[in-house]
């Protein structure tokens, strides 16, 4: 327990000490929120779908959690050579505990960023549907963060250079985000795109967070819950397996 707590605490310290990093991490989601929210708001409303800001904010929260948590996993590539990771790998501690400490630290920061976006979005006119459901929304933010931190960890455990990282960015993270229902409703889509959306874990995360924040949803919440928890188990399992076998 001591090791996990120490590694978790380390990441939180790094987060609040780097103010520029905090600002940087929420600037991009905010840009999406402002540009898309105001840009598409009137079209969305004309189509009879209500307030686009209400629809978009949960998607942007999920996006900031996705980016932040995948990055904290992928940081391992860098960390293997120039970072603190080596220090933990030569210590007489099981790799599983190191992985848990890192994952929880990365996930906590991702959720904090998501909450920051939520607070800022109130200034753009976002309204919670039911304050009592907010803790459940936060729970799903936490699950989302763990899913993608574990995914990032799994990938980074197998990669040794930064070129692979660029590729991942373009071929994995961006499609995950754009094809998830974060930006648009999941109706009347071409079959191929629909298929990708259905296997994308972020789709279910976005929908569950949206459900608990605004009561809008297109997938039954129990389905989302089951899918998210299944992905979580699979990714955490693969992530810890690859991390424990990682060589430098």
């Amino acid at each position: 327990m001591g090791v996990i707590y120490a590694l978790w605490q380390r990441q939180l310290k790094r987060f609040y000490r780097q103010k520029s990093r905090v600002i940087g991490s929420i600037a991009q989601p905010l840009l999406f929120l402002v540009a898309l929210g105001f840009g598409f708001g009137s079209i969305f409303q004309e189509a009879g779908r209500g307030s686009y800001i209400q629809f978009l904010v949960p998607g942007i929260i999920a996006m900031s959690i996705l980016f932040s948590s995948i990055f904290s996993g992928i940081e391992i590539i860098w960390d293997k050579q120039f970072g603190f990771l080596k220090e933990t790998l030569v210590a007489p501690v099981s790799r599983l505990r190191i992985m848990i400490g890192r994952t929880l630290g990365g996930a906590t920061i991702a959720v904090l960023q998501g909450l920051l976006i939520l607070i800022i979005s109130f200034a753009f006119g976002f309204k919670l549907n039911n304050l009592a459901l907010l803790p459940l929304a936060i729970l799903f933010m936490i699950l989302t963060a763990i899913v993608f931190t574990a995914l990032g960890t799994a990938i980074a455990s197998r990669l040794n250079d930064m070129q692979g990282f660029q590729l991942l960015m373009n071929l994995l993270i961006m499609p995950l985000f754009f094809l998830s229902g974060a930006l648009f409703p999941l109706t009347d889509l071409p079959k191929a795109i629909n298929f990708i959306i259905r296997i994308n874990p972020l789709t279910y995360c976005v929908d569950a967070i949206r459900y608990f924040l605004t009561s809008m949803s297109s997938i039954p919440i129990f389905v989302s819950s089951i899918v998210i928890v299944s992905y979580l188990i699979i990714f955490v399992f693969i992530g810890s397996y690859l991390f424990s076998r990682m060589e430098i």
Partner: protein, 288 residues
């Protein structure tokens, strides 16, 4: 009834066993027929050597000879294909966590957390090695004082110079009182003053705390000053091991550097830029 001869034989055999046991215990690092492939490239090939308790052992070789690979294998970061390694009589593959308790390491590339203070780095290390809190606090103070960083303990490591970071890593590597300290090019990129200081700390610890030192470097003058034993690796093979004076006599050289060049050749080793070098480059750019 056993004859007197038989009894004597048994005694002799036992003595030999005893002697072997003592010999084994004296070797704190024992590497036998170590072989490591990266794909089809044989990075380390049938390497055997041993290091005795309390020695200052220099592991030398040109770039790309297999030094770092060997250190990574010895410190449980990398698996190998053939051979056996014991550290303090524990098998590296079978008991990696036991082996990890016995050594401290200073890596070639930094591994301190630059966004934490010196003290916080030490503190996390003490948790990783499950040191009891009050003991940890005492030792942190002691070793930060040894490397003359106690006044700077609450400063962020990102504000430290290269030499200060290296000193911090040494103090951290000693915090759990290891039996062996591995140092991969501990003085690279440092000015002569800092190099001298760093070696003073290391040798003091070698004498006072009886810590075995295993290090790599390209500075042959350092080796001549501090090492008791050397091994030279080239193209994955050990080409020389023993004392510095024997090695110089054999090669009829005045200095170790001369002997080293005689035996490894004058040619510069051209390494292809690996992804690691590219990362190092990127790191430099990032820091500007």
């Amino acid at each position: 009834m056993k004859t007197i001869k038989q009894v004597n034989d048994i005694k002799k055999r036992n003595n030999i066993k005893q002697a072997n046991k003592i010999k084994l215990e004296k070797n704190i690092i024992d590497v036998k027929n170590l072989t490591k492939f990266y794909g089809s490239f044989e990075a380390v090939s049938d390497v055997s050597f041993s290091v005795k308790k309390g020695e200052v052992f220099a592991f030398l070789g040109p770039n790309g000879a297999g030094k770092s690979t060997t250190i990574k294998i010895l410190t449980t970061l990398l698996k190998f294909n053939k051979g056996s390694i014991t550290i303090n009589n524990y098998d590296v593959l079978k008991d990696p966590n036991k082996v990890r308790e016995f050594f401290g390491i200073v890596f070639q590339d930094p591994s301190v957390d630059e966004e934490l203070t010196a003290y916080e780095n030490m503190k996390i290390h003490s948790v990783l090695y499950s040191l009891e809190k009050s003991l940890a606090e005492k030792r942190i103070e002691k070793f930060l004082k040894v490397v003359e960083l106690w006044d700077r303990k609450d400063d962020l490591v990102s504000k430290f110079s290269g030499g200060m970071k290296r000193r911090l890593e040494i103090a951290r590597g000693l915090l759990h009182v290891p039996k062996i300290l591995f140092l991969d090019e501990p003085t690279v990129g440092l000015d002569p003053q800092t190099r001298k200081h760093i070696w003073n700390y290391i040798l003091e610890i070698n004498k006072k705390e009886k810590v075995t030192i295993f290090f790599t470097t390209h500075y042959m003058d350092e080796v001549e000053k501090v090492a008791n034993k050397i091994a030279i690796i080239d193209k994955g093979k050990i080409i020389e091991k023993g004392t510095i004076s024997d090695f110089k006599k054999q090669t009829k050289s005045k200095t170790l550097e001369e002997a080293f060049i005689k035996i490894t050749g004058y040619n510069i080793r051209e390494e292809e830029s690996s992804s690691l070098d590219q990362l190092r480059q990127r790191r430099k750019i990032r820091r500007r």
